[in-house]
């Protein structure tokens, strides 16, 4: 993906949300807002946090860039490379494996054409990512897409229903501080 020449900026809605979040912590502890602000950044800038976006986060919170890099690389939810419109996070841990997550992963690779850990599918729609336990073991196997859990994906019909829903999503769902969701990452390209 080409890097954007223009320095990224948070939308006004996101700026207002960040301002609200900062009231949750003591004034001298703005760094506490780092994880929540990284989540906002990932939602704002197409599902991943580029070095430029991480620098923006650092600037916004008055941190050194390294303080952001070392955190974004520690936590698995932050994507450090460009992703497709929808990142399918497939739980691979024991309880999901017992109920067919290996088969689910193979099925998703087959029908989307994307590979786990690889680039997005050719149509730019789907990135496949295996993750550890999502705390929904009783409803296994599970896929998370942004803030939504798709549960009991143990039939081709259930998987199809999820993919159809995602294919029909032009914008990602709006977050509480937004009026509408933003266009999905690659929709602009």
């Amino acid at each position: 993906m080409e890097t954007t020449a223009v320095k990224p900026q948070f939308s006004e809605a996101a700026q207002a949300e960040i301002k609200r979040l900062l009231t949750h912590y003591p004034d001298e502890r703005r760094k506490s807002a780092l994880l929540p602000v990284l989540h906002i950044a990932q939602a704002e800038f197409g599902g991943w946090v580029s070095p430029e976006v991480q620098d923006l986060v650092a600037e916004t919170l008055g941190l050194k860039p390294i303080e952001v890099y070392e955190v974004s690389s520690f936590y698995t939810m932050f994507n450090l490379k460009p992703v497709g419109k929808h990142v399918l996070e497939i739980c691979r841990t024991g309880p999901c494996m017992l109920r067919g997550s290996d088969e689910l992963t193979a099925h998703l690779e087959r029908i989307t054409g994307a590979k786990v850990g690889g680039p997005a599918s050719e149509d730019g729609l789907f990135t496949l990512k295996e993750v550890e336990c999502l705390a929904a073991c009783g409803f296994a196997p599970i896929v998370q897409v942004r803030e939504k859990y798709y549960e009991q994906l143990d039939t081709p019909e259930a998987v199809d229903a999820m993919l159809t829903e995602l294919r029909n999503q032009v914008h990602r769902p709006a977050l509480p501080w937004e009026e509408t969701g933003l266009p999905n990452a690659l929709a602009n390209n």
Partner: protein, 446 residues
């Protein structure tokens, strides 16, 4: 039918709203505590209740509270650990998304008891949708005067915030959680100092699991002694059990501690038996970190007594023949399950989730995963089996936090109880490496 202290109203329409929750007796514990009790009296009731930390460690909550340092003029914090990520455990997610006000009520009453004026719920980042539910409920509680300045005209102030993690199992360890809440990598801290003395922002802090906090309202309303009447011995009250794996009815069950394990697995009121008409092979009773037990040892202790869902009964026999109640993540495996594959899967999890701070854990979890991988995939050697036990032993007790033990115990237990299946993976390597291969000699109880 056991009593439901936390989940009685979980299916009531609209119970996630303040109005409906209040109509069903919600927030009474806040009124009772703030208007009629001193903070110390609330702590006393929680002590009397015998409530033990529901996140996995089982440490008495009241005692943990009484360790909180209270230096004059220094703020102290209550932080709720909602970083539920122990494989097999999914009770807190359910509780928070369906009964957000129960947790908020518990946080207010508990914060009052501890003298905290700012409290946080640290929720795992994957559960952002639950964070939205909690934030909405918190806003309702502010509007109704149960949060903010001068709660119920008492002069007591409390602000409550929800804070998301970013995807890291280790942040369920309380000092890693505090680091994370401070905007850092989730590296567990050396102890002492304990959080009760130097926790969040180096100030006195109590960290409690969601389910522990959610039990506080009923303890305050009914009294600690009443709560302690439920259960057996030092296992008082009710416990949420997350049932998953090869069960007919996986899901969340609130049980009175003391329920026989056999009844929990097979009765229609609970899990309804093993799926597809198969037999049970093994159970991991308290989340992936606790020792796995074969059917005969999960249903009965080595002494032949019925195994009960209590802290004591499940650990009867120590690690030789027992396990732990842990977080209540109950994973059932049917007779077709490959124990080696499952153990490898869990080892991969711990390797992935090790923060990398302590060498025995960083390197040891890697070795466990690697050796188990080659056993499962047909490249193992007979001496690998003892190598696993040796690596596990060298991790145990040699790390800053318990992730080391959590990685070591399941491997040691799997070899202890299923050594013949590991050996079969060497003697019949090709056959065992086939996808879906089933060890033919599994001793299974009907």
């Amino acid at each position: 039918m056991g009593r439901k202290l936390l989940t009685e109203h979980i299916n009531v329409e609209g119970i996630d709203t303040f109005e409906v929750y209040r109509k069903h007796g919600g927030y009474r514990s806040v009124e009772k505590a703030i208007k009629t009790m001193t903070p110390d009296e609330v702590v006393e009731e929680v002590k009397k209740s015998g409530l033990r930390g529901r996140g996995g460690a089982g440490f008495p909550t009241g005692m943990k509270w009484s360790f909180l340092a209270k230096p004059e003029g220094v703020p102290r914090y209550l932080v709720c650990n909602a970083d539920e990520s122990e494989p097999g455990t999914f009770k807190d997610r359910q509780l928070m998304s369906k009964l957000p006000h129960l947790l908020i009520e518990g946080m207010i009453t508990s914060s009052y008891a501890l003298g905290a004026n700012t409290s946080y719920i640290y929720i795992r980042g994957e559960l952002l949708y639950v964070l939205r539910i909690l934030e909405k409920a918190i806003a309702e509680a502010y509007a109704a005067g149960f949060l903010g300045k001068n709660i119920l005209g008492s002069g007591y102030d409390l602000d409550l915030h929800v804070h998301p993690g970013g995807g890291a199992y280790i942040c369920g360890e309380e000092t890693a959680l505090l680091e994370s809440l401070e905007g850092k990598r989730g590296n567990p801290r050396n102890k002492p100092p304990f959080p009760a003395v130097q926790g969040l922002y180096a100030r006195p802090t109590v960290v409690n699991n969601v389910e522990s906090i959610a039990a506080v309202p009923v303890i305050v309303n009914e009294g600690g002694d009443e709560y302690a009447k439920i259960g057996i011995g030092r296992s008082t009250g009710t416990k949420l059990i997350s049932a998953c794996g090869h069960l007919n009815k996986p899901g969340i069950y609130e049980i009175e501690l003391g329920l026989p394990v056999e009844e929990f697995i097979y009765s229609d009121e609970y899990c309804g038996g093993i799926w597809k008409g198969r037999n049970l092979k093994a159970v991991v009773a308290g989340g992936s970190s606790v020792p796995i037990l074969p059917t005969e040892l999960i249903l009965k202790t080595a002494a032949g007594e019925n195994r009960l869902m209590t802290y004591e009964s499940l650990s009867d026999g120590g690690f030789v023949t027992g396990t732990m109640l842990g977080s209540g993540g109950f994973i059932a495996m049917d007779e077709t399950t490959c124990i080696v594959r499952n153990t490898w899967n869990f080892s991969r999890f711990y390797h992935h989730e090790s923060c990398g701070q302590c060498s025995p854990c960083r390197e040891g979890t890697g070795w466990l995963e690697k050796v188990l991988h080659r056993l499962e995939h047909g490249h193992g050697h007979m001496e690998d089996i003892d190598l696993l036990v040796s690596v596990a032993k060298q991790i145990e007790g040699n790390t800053i936090c318990p992730l080391g033990e959590a990685a070591a115990w399941p491997v040691a237990a799997a070899v202890r109880h299923f050594r013949d299946e590991f050996e079969w993976h060497v003697t019949h390597a090709k056959q065992a490496a086939q996808p879906g291969a089933v060890y033919p000699g599994a001793a299974v109880l009907a």
